[in-house]
């Protein structure tokens, strides 16, 4: 049982790190801002969720596992809200008239 849980943790954490890598590559390579924001929020939050999933069997207690899930949910909520705000700011920045130097 312990070996199976370890294998599960290794697979989930490795998948999470892969999605972090995918998010970083998307941030660097995608052509415009909105697609980069999409890569940032979706891939990175999924990566963090997989890392938390892999760490759940290693939690000390049910409350410790609940804290891990709370961290992930907080990052999800913050990421969604902040990305909406940043997308609006990006649109304003693009449409605002350029101040002459």
């Amino acid at each position: 049982m312990s070996v199976a849980l370890n294998i599960f943790s290794i697979i989930a954490i490795a998948a999470g790190v892969f999605f972090f890598f995918a998010g970083s590559v998307g941030l660097l390579r995608f052509p415009d801002r909105l697609t980069r924001m999409h890569a940032l929020t979706k891939a990175d939050n999924l990566g963090l969720g997989l890392v938390v999933l892999g760490l759940l069997p290693r939690a000390d207690s049910p409350l410790g596992a609940l804290k891990l899930v709370a961290v992930w949910l907080l990052v999800q909520l913050a990421g969604a809200t902040v990305t909406q705000l940043m997308a609006r700011a990006a649109r304003r920045e693009e449409s605002a008239p350029r101040s002459s130097p």
Binding site: N6, S9, I10, I13, A14, G16, V17, F20, F21, G23, S24, V25, L27, L28, R33, R36, M37, L40, D44, N45, G47, L48, V51, V52, L55, R58, D60, G64, K67, L68, A70, V71, L74, V75, A78, G79, T81, V82, T83, L85, M86, R88, A89, A90, R92, E93, A96, P97, S99
Partner: protein, 96 residues
């Protein structure tokens, strides 16, 4: 198992460090703020992995604080960007 957790924490930080190229290249401030947000998310994952590897559970609370700080940093940036945009634009959100 602990070595694997430390290795993945280091790998996560390495992928997040790739975001520094976006900070260098820009072109806009929003792009740079995105890289800072990536740093927040990746830092949280690295902290959780390090907490599991070392057994020091206080790092999970540091991860929670980092989540709050990353969110507030982005919101502060959006607030200042909106103020600047309104100053430039006579048809701003205030309608003045």
């Amino acid at each position: 198992m602990n070595e694997f957790l430390f290795a993945t924490a280091g790998l996560t930080l390495a992928t997040v460090a790739m975001g520094l190229f976006r900070i260098l290249a820009g072109p806009g401030d929003v792009d740079r703020m995105m890289a800072a947000q990536l740093l927040g998310t990746g830092g949280i994952a690295a902290l959780l992995l390090a907490a599991a590897g070392t057994g020091v559970r206080g790092a999970e609370d540091v991860a929670l604080a980092l989540a709050l700080l990353a969110a507030f940093a982005s919101m502060a940036f959006v607030n200042s960007a909106t103020s600047n945009s309104n100053a430039d634009d006579p048809e701003g959100a205030d309608g003045r």
